[in-house]
Amino acid sequence: MKRNRKSLLLSLLTLMMVATLFAACGNSNSGNTAEGNNAPADKPANTAPAEEPAGKKIVVGFAQIGAESGWRDAETASIKDTFGNDPAFELKFSDAQQKQENQIKAIRSFIAQKVDAIGLAPVVESGWETVLKEAKDAGIPVFLLDRGITAGNEDLYTSFIGSDFILEGENAAKWMLDEFGADAEVNIVQLEGTVGASAANDRKKGFEDAIAGNAGYKIVYSQTGDFTRAKGKEVMEAYLKKDKNIQVVYAHNDDMALGAIQAIEEAGLKPGTDIKIIGVDGVKGAFEAIAEGKMNVTVECNPLLGPQLKQAILDYQAGKELPKWIKSEEDVYFGQKAIDALPNRKY
């Protein structure tokens, strides 16, 4: 009896082990299967011959990193929508599952298929010289999306399309200066991103430089919240115990801002009214908070780069001179504008 029970327990746990293993595998693959489902049109596109006789389609190969975050998923969807819905284009999409060698392989296959343009979101900065040289020799323009490659290789790609984090910081400051007026006395708490992250460094620099000329604007406290809700709340909580005379919280991303909002509410103050809240990214949660009046503004960090990539390719084919850095179109959302935009937010 006892032995039976033991073996039952063992087999149960083995079952769990197997289930866990499957779950683990499922996780690493889930992104890809999802992508496959999203765009069933890709498969035939890959097997079909590159040159289609009917009409002159512009063939674009895109080497995506993977599907590691909601932001990346939104970017993928934007690219697939933009090119998939335009009959003048044909998209060859490749998912590298966070591996550089897969991206290099994909670019080589794009070159072999003689595509008209290549889009690349490089997973790492270095190691692209050889393959991009091959593309250049084949006369195919390469567009980098949202991440750059090591400096000194600018001649290897046509343009980089991505965010300007410094500009995002400046935009956050600009909204605040408009809101309070240039001469106002404003105490600011800054919730910084992960120490050393370029998004954190640049959003800080852009913001601080923009308010440097206004003596009334003081950053009374600046601390890292690691880009997470939990840390944003904890840091804000601790500071509010010390001093409640603050007018603005500027968070380097929306998640920290949402955490700070909770801390402010628990301190008996009204976020959005007593203390204005500025976030960056433009995630859906921030729009909801703005609609509820708890947050004031979110500076977008746009993953929907498909339309700009398309425009860049069209411009290139028309023989126009393209800037090395095409800054992604990013808006600042506040008030009614944010509420109107809420139903259309994709990420």
Binding site: M16, A23, N27, S69, T228, R229, K241, D255, Q262, G285
Partner: protein
């Protein structure tokens, strides 16, 4: 008032004295540098102040560290607690959508228990080294949590759920009551049942306790199961406090803080005697240190350094060898 376990045992200096001393020194420092640190006000009918924050924010860590104490007492370790916290929080918030509160909570606790049993099976039955065995769930666990949340940050607006981590009962955070009950239950388990004794004996010497008729497998399984369950409970409080579940970041590095709390509390990593009171003080110390650092406004770049220095100092206070050296040198000085 019951006599604490360490007095019953009659050890010369109770272990809990050292973490308490460290905590007192930290608070003394705060009293001098920032007198406002200890101010407690009444806002919206509940207590509000840094000390309340320390208790409130520290409860998940406290609860996890209590479970960790049991596991470490049997000379094991569980480095998967942070991931289990993330799984349980994600599970709870995921289940809240369309299910009753108790279903969500039971589901979260159940997942935690399963994780604990899984670790226990690897360690006790398959005899895999605890560090390696729990490493599996440390890495896979976040993947499971991501599967549940579908890679997004889940949020909830259910008031009854938010009460667990955010609510106040008689002016004191509700989560503190939960931690107190957990402490009491584990304390009773240690002192009033044979389990506590068996746990210490297998931790001190597995072979001889086996000869004495103790079944280490059952003891180990139970310890890991409790640890998993408590990690899940911490996950519920953590996610409830934030009204959201973040599979990637919830409870990140909590396993290290929990182990640190246990060690600061005086329990040896080599198993045997364990000190629940010390663990609680250890957890409160770690949280107090974090809150102090934020209140002081230590620059973000130096936070880790400051923490490391303080932790080294506390470990030195805790070390018998170091204290002996210090006192013997003093004696030498006075003798000459």
């Amino acid at each position: 008032m019951k006599q604490p376990a360490w007095l019953e045992r009659g050890t010369p200096t109770p272990k809990v004295v050292w973490p308490l001393l460290a905590l007192l020194i930290l608070y003394l420092f705060n009293l001098i540098v920032m007198p406002g640190f200890f101010r407690v006000e009444l806002i919206d009918g509940h207590l509000y102040g840094n000390l309340v924050d320390v208790l409130n924010r520290g409860t998940p860590l406290m609860i996890i560290a209590l479970g960790m104490t049991l596991v470490i007492a049997k000379e094991g370790i569980d480095i998967s607690v942070g991931s289990v916290l993330a799984i349980s929080g994600s599970m709870a918030i995921y289940m809240l959508e369309g299910h009753r509160l108790w279903v969500a909570i039971l589901a979260a606790l159940g997942v935690g228990l399963l994780c604990g049993l899984w670790n226990g099976m690897l360690v006790a039955v398959l005899r895999i080294q605890p560090m390696v065995a729990t490493l599996i769930l440390l890495t896979v666990g976040r993947g499971i949590a991501q599967l549940i949340t579908n890679g997004q940050i889940l949020t909830t607006t259910r008031d009854s759920y938010e009460f667990i981590g955010k609510g106040f009962l008689f002016g004191i955070p509700f989560a503190v009551y939960i931690a107190a009950i957990v402490f009491l239950l584990i304390y009773l388990l240690k002192t009033k049942t044979a389990f506590g004794l068996f746990l210490e004996s297998t931790g001190a010497n597995r072979k001889s306790s086996e000869f004495a008729g103790v079944k280490p497998r059952v003891i180990f399984m139970t310890a890991y199961a409790i640890c998993g369950l408590l990690a899940a409970l911490a996950g519920i409080i953590y996610s409830s406090n934030l009204s959201s579940a973040d599979a990637n970041n919830a409870g990140l590095w909590y396993e290290l803080d929990a182990i640190l709390a246990v060690v600061i509390g005086g329990t040896s990593m080599r198993g045997g005697r364990f000190y629940l009171g010390g663990t609680v003080i250890g957890a409160i110390f770690i949280q107090s240190l974090t809150t102090t650092i934020y209140s002081l406004g230590v620059p973000p770049e130096s936070i880790l350094l400051v923490k490391a220095v303080v932790v080294i100092l506390v470990c030195l206070i805790q070390s018998d060898v170091f204290r002996q050296k210090l006192t013997s040198r003093k004696r030498k000085v006075t003798a000459s």
